[in-house]
């Protein structure tokens, strides 16, 4: 084995994504978590009383719940060192011209307006605690599709909101769903009416700018019978020496015969704790697909879930985890089969290098209510150097005799013979290695729209130094 030093895109993160703008919030709650802060958030949004009460109950649950003792090491999080609410502007704008200058510059540098012009149906751009820019192409709006910030949905569509909010992920589900439920702000609300197909992706971009910031967006998506949509989110943050916290909750309801795809390309800076609860309720003959790319953050704990509650429902998680220096990606997926003839699939591909660690953690639960269900899980881990590590922690819980459940996992490194084969055709070792890694994640990348696929392949490009014999 040759002695190589790997370089990757994380080393240039600071200049590409890790920049910051001067903080010019119009409201910033004082540092730390308290009932006062929760009340201040609710008051600043002019929320109904039930929401304030909900937040306060969630805060209580958060305080009572212990930190998870499994998964990534979260012992360094200091909840009193975080800013829980930083309001960037007075309201969400409909044109980029109206967006405050430093926010506009940020999203320009990240390429959001350009992507919007080229291939998106609508955009939400969240900056710190709230959505600063919002758009939806008019013919989709005319079909009755709602794509707004979650704050705005609470004001404008209170009935739908109250019917679904907190139903898929109860606030007491886990410590971080409780935290989110107490201090949530921003996030996307998507409502796709019966039978409507939204063919171009709806995109949300989450940007943390402030230092020691906690971003707690809350996303609620309802896809009515027979409808289809594809939602994509991206996230980045400045590189700071102090830690930031991102604890989102995403709830998705996929009604009978509908299909929904939720794609995440998470590229937080290496000082962000990313602790997210994502769950979908999948009804009769509906299909839910999570495409989950975790490339950034210091520690991620995230296991997108499908509750397959209707007969014939299908769930899928396609997960890519990439852990470089100082990163631990604890990611995976959960499939709860709670109706007959349901099926699920989880494919996980992870790459660890330069001392990073990836952990696949998953659950397939076939309940007694789910006869004739099947599930297939494939986890492949690639370790690129001796410093790095990987784990696989799947659980298959089968309480139904007719279930068919399969799980396979492999761990491997890049074979020298493959590198030699490709270098003998004139590729450099860096090119050969990048090519093999991109081939390794291809089964997931091919599911992405072209623009995102290109982006993802760029994010995992590798370089090698000092390749001496």
């Amino acid at each position: 084995m040759k002695n190589r030093r790997l370089k990757d895109i994380r080393e240039t993160y600071a200049s590409k994504y890790g920049f910051s703008m001067p903080e010019k919030p119009i409201l910033k709650a004082k540092r730390g978590l308290s009932e006062d802060v929760v009340r201040q958030i609710s008051q600043s949004k002019g929320e109904p009383k039930w929401m304030l009460e909900y937040r306060l109950k969630a805060l209580e649950a958060f305080n009572k719940k212990p930190m998870p003792m499994w998964g990534a090491d979260l012992s360094k999080i200091d909840f009193q060192d975080i800013f829980y609410f930083v309001k960037p502007s007075d309201e969400e704008k409909r044109t980029w011209e109206d967006v405050p200058e430093e926010i506009k510059i940020t999203f320009d540098r990240l390429g959001v307006p350009q992507a919007e012009r080229e291939y998106l149906a609508g955009v939400k751009a969240q900056y710190d605690s709230e959505v600063a820019y919002s758009s939806l192409i008019s013919d989709i709006e005319d079909k009755g599709v709602i794509f707004s910030s979650t704050d705005e949905a609470l004001r404008k569509h209170p009935e739908i909101f109250k019917e679904y909010f907190g139903k898929v992920v109860p606030f007491a589900d886990n410590k971080f769903s409780a935290l989110n439920s107490a201090v949530w702000s921003g996030g996307s609300f998507v409502y796709v009416p019966k039978g409507v197909t939204v063919s171009r992706p709806l995109q949300a971009y989450f940007r943390i700018n402030a230092q020691s910031m906690g971003q707690f967006e809350r996303t609620l998506i309802i896809v009515e019978e027979g409808a289809f949509a594809h939602y994509v989110e991206g996230c980045t943050a400045p590189v700071y020496s102090s830690d930031s916290l991102h604890a989102a909750v995403v709830e998705v309801i996929v009604k009978p015969g509908a299909r929904f795809r939720y794609t995440t390309i998470q590229n937080w800076s290496d000082n962000v704790y990313n602790l997210v609860t994502k769950r979908a309720r999948v009804e009769k003959d509906a299909v839910m697909e999570w495409v989950d790319g975790n490339l950034g953050s210091k520690k991620t704990m995230k296991y997108p879930s499908c509750y397959l509650v209707g007969e014939g429902a299908k769930g899928e998680v396609l997960s890519i985890a990439y852990a470089s220096k100082g990163q631990h990606q604890d990611a995976g997926g959960k499939m709860i089969h709670a109706a007959p003839n349901t099926s699920s699939r989880i494919i996980s591909k992870s790459v660890s290098l330069r001392g990073g660690r990836t952990s696949y953690r998953g659950l397939v639960d076939i309940t007694p209510a789910a006869p004739n269900s099947k599930s297939r899980v494939e986890c492949d881990a690639l370790i690129l150097d001796p410093l790095s590590a990987t784990d696989t922690f799947p659980t298959m819980r089968i309480n139904e005799s007719s279930a068919n459940v399969e799980h396979e996992a492999t761990v491997s490194k890049i074979g020298e013979e493959k590198l030699f084969y490709l270098t003998s055709r004139g590729l450099t070792e860096s090119e050969a290695m990048s090519l093999i890694v991109s081939g390794f994640i291809e089964p997931i990348v091919k599911e992405l729209p072209m623009e995102y696929a290109v982006e993802l392949n760029r994010l995992i490009e590798l370089e090698m130094e000092g390749s001496v014999g």
Partner: protein, 192 residues
């Protein structure tokens, strides 16, 4: 390679000095079997067969812990679950830092041959070294109706067909047992 036939009991820890096959037949018990590889070049197989009869339950933990370079382990657990039985299996492969050129595989297959069964399968990998080959697989499924039909169409009764399929399911593991005496002992248990 020597073959050891183990009795099901609570806790067993081994530090193999030479290539060894550990064979165990399970009916109803709570068992932990840990194999620690602390001698380079050692290669082991852990072969466990479980025939879990009506109302019985098995809790099984296996650990293949590779601490030094160039060791290999193959862990196989095949279980048949009859009516109202359960199996709760956790199978760990741990490869420590610097345990280069480890090969470790784990395979858990559960054949459901009754109603009201419970099966938990947790195959786990913890890998701290890059120059290794490790994988695990787990599958749970009922006896396939088409297989039963095929055998019935050749004149077997349903019960005979099921028995043959179960025997065949175990045969994959039995055939790996090198010591003939041990193999035949376990084969007799399986048939019982």
């Amino acid at each position: 390679m020597k073959t050891l036939l183990l009795k099901e009991k609570e806790n067993m820890i081994f530090f193999p000095e030479e290539d060894t096959q550990y064979v165990m037949f399970l009916r109803s018990s709570s068992t932990t079997l840990e194999v620690n590889f602390e001698k380079e070049g050692v290669s082991c197989e852990v072969l466990i067969l479980g025939k879990i009869k009506k109302g019985n339950s098995v809790v099984l933990n296996t650990i293949a812990h590779h601490l030094v370079p160039n060791t290999s382990c193959l862990t196989t657990y095949h279980a048949v679950l009859e009516d109202s039985s359960s199996s709760d299996y956790t199978g760990k492969i741990i490869i420590a830092e610097k345990a280069f050129q480890t090969t470790s595989y784990l395979n858990n297959k559960t054949l459901v041959a009754g109603e009201n069964v419970k099966n938990i399968s947790k195959p786990e990998l913890e890998i701290e070294s890059d120059d290794v080959k490790a994988s695990h697989g787990s599958s749970t499924g009922r006896i396939r109706e088409e297989d039963i039909f095929y055998l019935i169409s050749r004149g077997l009764s349903r019960k005979e067909a099921e028995e043959i399929i179960i025997e065949g399911f175990f045969e994959n593991v039995l055939s790996k047992i090198m010591d003939e005496e041990v193999r035949e002992k376990v084969r007799a248990e399986v048939k019982y």
